[in-house]
Subunit: 230 residues, 2 copies
DNA sequence: TTGGACTGTTACAGAACCGTCGCATAGGCT
DNA sequence: AGCCTATGCGACGGTTCTGTAACAGTCCAA
């Protein structure tokens, strides 16, 4: 596995247009992308490229995504690689089956590219050793996803689960403005229905937690648009 | 691309009856529809209207849909616009050819209007977030849509939501003169009714914000026509 | 069961922003 | 120059958006 430098992603998708768009976005996010348009090539490329993560389309001619996933999870040397499945079917049945074959996460088409990126990073963080630069940092805020701990300066902060996820999301792309809808997707999950005003309240709680031991407010409100860090 | 408000669709279909029905449904779905009945007009309208998505009939006299698609995907500035092809031929061969020319999706006649709507929305969702990463620049003004930040020289400017959208619109095509009506369409949204003089006021506010830390007025008034940048 | 921690919703006040009006001024044409 | 129109600008009332506190419901551990 590539310990330092760019994380490697193997992108397996048979439809050229979608693959191109995804590859573009992944590269823009700092991933080194290897592409395959069928399951057989994918199996070969896993050994050749040793990707850190695999994004796998469900429906493909010949060897399907689900089959690739099953095979990879059977082999000890590839079992540890996180797999995110893409599927056009939204039914819960498929979801279950996907997870039973060992996929680590699951995104339904049409997906938000933003969400997919976030999930990819999340999976990466999960498997990478915590000592190697996976600690998110922004100004004097440090966040260690592994130990679930947040520091501001030297102080340890105490955040609730939602505040924590919210901060993780914001810290993954400091400066980027997230709309309330995007934050609901990324933090709460896309199928949950809660009022967008709820985001305001949790942003407020996060702010209070972050500023409890002093320090400026690191969260920026962009009127009419959303929130961002810094 | 229309950043806020309704997504714009360019509908290219030579048969009036089908075009009318589709336009009606698309408008009911909240799209702002521009229509064309041949490929040549379509090519012109793409530049004029800058649609977010194009629905393109395969079979048309003179310049065919497939040809329009090929041409659009060759030009960098139009390549990113998703294209959905409509075709009466169901053969897989055509499907392949359609995708090879770069069409992003493909619907076979007779299609379900509902399905077409769903696919259109799906394509939109797919492309919208990928506008990220582009920083607009004009002379000493920089605008980062992702972080919602505007700089003039080294100074950070503070703009209201409408001023921001207005500046985005102007910066997307520096030098181009926008009429007040066009600006109302692009910035406020197509169905909103506000007085055209409102544009003047916001241009004034934008000017003030841009010149607050010194520097020349970058907005040009074209008497009797509208405004442009530079 | 009880208590505490957490969450989503609502209400309200203050701030930011918007659209319109009236008038002053500048531009262009005869 | 003189006239007419288009534009710039300040002010104002109304609307929308945001921050915060309060509250009730849920979940989990002791």
């Amino acid at each position: 596995m590539a310990k330092g430098g760019q994380p490697r992603v193997l992108l397996v998708e048979d439809e050229p247009a979608q693959r191109t768009v995804l590859a573009y976005n992944l590269e823009a996010e700092g991933f080194a992308v290897t592409q395959a348009d069928n399951g057989e090539d994918a199996m070969v490329l896993v050994d050749e490229e040793e990707p850190d993560i695999i994004i796998l389309d469900w429906m493909m001619p010949k060897v399907s995504g689900i089959e690739v996933c099953r095979r990879l999870k059977m082999r000890p040397e590839t079992r540890g690689i996180p797999i995110i499945m893409l599927s056009a079917r939204a039914e819960e049945v498929d979801r279950i089956r996907g997870l039973e074959t060992g996929a680590d996460d699951y995104v339904i088409k049409p997906y938000s590219v933003l969400e997919l990126m976030a999930r990819a990073r999340a999976q990466l963080r999960r498997v990478r050793p915590s000592t190697a630069g996976v600690v998110l940092e922004h100004e004097d805020i440090r966040l260690d996803p592994e130990s679930h701990r947040v520091y501001r300066g030297e102080k340890v902060l105490k955040l609730g689960p939602t505040e924590f996820k919210l901060l993780v999301t914001l810290m993954e792309r400091p400066g980027r403005v997230f709309s309330r809808e995007q934050l609901l997707d990324l933090v709460w999950g896309r199928d949950i229905y809660v009022d967008t005003r709820t985001v305001d309240v949790h942003v407020g709680r996060l702010r209070k937690s972050l500023m409890l031991h002093g320090g400026a407010d690191p969260v920026r409100t962009v009127r009419g648009a959303g929130y961002s860090l810094g």
